[in-house]
Point group: C2
Chain length 79, copies 2
């Protein structure tokens, strides 16, 4: 079973990498880019067969390792 986790910075948390990308895009003459926010994606290959159990495990993985819940949000897609 596949699980995909998106980890993004919480609103209000500064994103210097996003700012740098936004600046670089304007240097490349891409106008009309009002904001860029960066984040991470984790694609997990799990041996689980039950989606509910898999979601609970991935939730625990996010809490313990994949996301810094002080400054990051995460969302989980199973299957």
């Amino acid at each position: 079973m596949k699980a995909r986790v998106h980890v993004t910075l919480k609103t209000g948390v500064l994103d210097p990498q996003g700012k740098a990308i936004q600046h670089a895009l304007s240097q490349l003459d891409f106008d009309g880019v009002e904001g860029v926010r960066t984040g991470k994606v984790f694609e997990l290959e799990l041996t689980d067969t039950d989606q509910t159990h898999a979601r609970e495990r991935v939730e625990a993985m996010c809490q313990q390792l994949l996301a810094n819940t002080v400054i990051e949000n995460y969302d989980i897609e199973i299957g």
Copy 2:
């Protein structure tokens, strides 16, 4: 208009970060994790109003900056 870009490593490209996370998860007693692949997410805030035009621009941004198309794939979600 919002656009979301997922950038992930092409199949066959080594993902040392993913391997490290997989190892860390097993250290935390998460068994049954057969593989971890990492990637990036870019959330773009665009002034575009036409989705087709926006998709073409984001495609060009990926080709020129957001993705290293030699080793990475990208997919674009608009709206």
